[in-house]
């Protein structure tokens, strides 16, 4: 499993508290979707997004890797739009799309995963009245993170076992033992949690 997507740095954006950054992102996304609907407004959105990116001083290589997919999609969509509707709508739609994704990617790149998890924990506190227990949510997330390599390992083992027997396993032949062993792992995990008093 590759590392989290965030890159370290000490720019103004890196230092901004995660919760405030998420709120700002939400506001930004709404503004881009609702207001950047003319060529002039879309241009402003692109300039603001570019300015934010340059403030964060993200390495060019990382920036390209994070944005190349949306730039490819935007190019294709822009070409289709140009064909359908003309230059101005094509510019507005592609700018909206790229800016919406770019500012979200920027928050991910400048915020540590642990800070985002803390922000999530705080953000869930008001949902206590609806029966959401932030501590249990955090526990579930942590367990899920540690279980990814475990389940990945199970899948690898089953594939190797099949190869050792000279079988190229289909998805069902592989899937049934994978799910059964995943459920067995969950069973052990559940017992370990109960033994540590999670149910009390």
């Amino acid at each position: 499993m590759s590392l989290p997507l965030a890159v370290s740095g000490d720019s103004w954006l890196h230092r901004m508290p995660a919760g405030r950054k998420l709120l700002a992102l939400l506001v930004g996304e709404v503004i881009v979707a609702a207001a950047a609907r003319s060529v002039a407004a879309a241009t402003v959105a692109v300039v603001v997004a570019a300015a934010l990116w340059s403030l964060a001083r993200v390495p060019v290589r990382t920036a390209w890797r994070s944005l190349r997919l949306i730039l490819l999609v935007a190019t294709l969509v822009g070409a289709a739009q140009w064909w359908y509707a003309g230059g101005a709508p094509a510019f507005v739609v592609t700018s909206q799309l790229v800016v919406a994704v770019a500012i979200a990617v920027l928050v991910t790149l400048t915020t540590r995963t642990s800070d985002l998890l803390d922000a999530l924990d705080r953000g869930l506190k008001p949902l206590r009245h609806l029966g959401v227990d932030p501590a249990r949510v955090s526990l579930t997330l942590a367990l899920a993170v540690t279980s990814v390599p475990v389940v990945g390992g199970l899948l690898g083992e089953l594939r190797q076992a099949a190869r050792a027997r000279g079988i190229r396993p289909g998805p069902v032949v592989l899937g049934v033992p994978l799910v059964v062993r995943t459920l067995q792992h969950a069973d052990q995990l559940g017992e370990a949690l109960a033994a540590r008093g999670v149910d009390d």
């Binding site: 289709a80 991910t108 999530l120 997330l141 899920a144």
Partner: protein
């Protein structure tokens, strides 16, 4: 040899030890009933473990190399297979929570979506609707599997589970995914729907695979807490 006792009419046998305690004295076990309604039941440690481990399964299936179906013609990534299995095996509530857990990990920056994508950008991009569709898709799959896919709690109906998986894991996911995609790309809905239709074949294949796996897992005798 047994004879009716002359006075009481009770059948007395030779082997009767004659010291049976009266039935009334036997302790009647009091069933512990939870006063909370079933829907508001708090997640137990077993539920938390199942939710976390299935979120990991969805991630692991997305990261695994694609599996080739139909004589190696179609490479299919298996992330949505994980979503379907979460619904059909864990049930509506836990399946939905497993998908939400998976999406939360993606949102906080782990590259767990197929192709190694992750972060908040995917929730602002053109395929964000499909991710939202995963949540409702797992819920509907779980709900309908319970209703149509299970007979007597033990045996299962293949067609019922398949129908539940196609409705929840394919139709519901596309019902969220296609309109959002059309909106984000500024393209007419029918155009996007035709484009998305190319992927329906792979997703229907995954629904069949998910149903067969679910049946296999049930036949293996796995019982989950309700």
């Amino acid at each position: 040899m047994c004879l009716p006792a002359p006075s009481s009419g009770t059948v007395l046998c030779d082997t009767d030890p004659g010291t049976f305690p009266p039935l009334e004295e036997a302790p009647v076990p009091q069933l512990q009933t939870d006063s909370r309604p079933a829907t508001a039941r708090r997640s137990t440690s077993a539920d938390i473990a199942l939710i976390a481990v299935f979120a990991a399964l969805i991630a692991a299936l997305g990261l695994a190399p694609p599996i080739y179906a139909f004589g190696n013609a179609v490479p299919i990534t298996l992330q949505t297979l994980g979503v379907m299995l979460a619904g059909s095996i864990l049930g509506a509530k836990r399946g939905t929570l497993a998908v939400l857990t998976f999406l939360a990990l993606v949102a906080v920056g782990l590259p767990l979506l197929s192709g190694g994508r992750g972060g908040l950008g995917v929730f602002a991009g053109p395929s964000a609707g499909y991710l939202v569709g995963f949540v409702f898709g797992a819920y509907v799959t779980g709900l309908l599997t319970r209703r149509f896919g299970e007979r007597d709690g033990a045996t299962s109906s293949f067609l019922g589970t398949l129908a539940a998986t196609v409705i929840g894991g394919v139709l519901v996911v596309y019902a969220f995914g296609v309109p959002v995609q059309a909106w984000r790309l500024g393209l007419p809905l029918p155009t996007v729907a035709v484009g998305a239709g190319l992927f329906v074949v792979g997703d229907l294949a995954k629904a069949v695979i998910s149903t067969l796996i679910t049946r296999g897992v049930r036949r293996a005798g796995v019982r989950l807490p309700d």
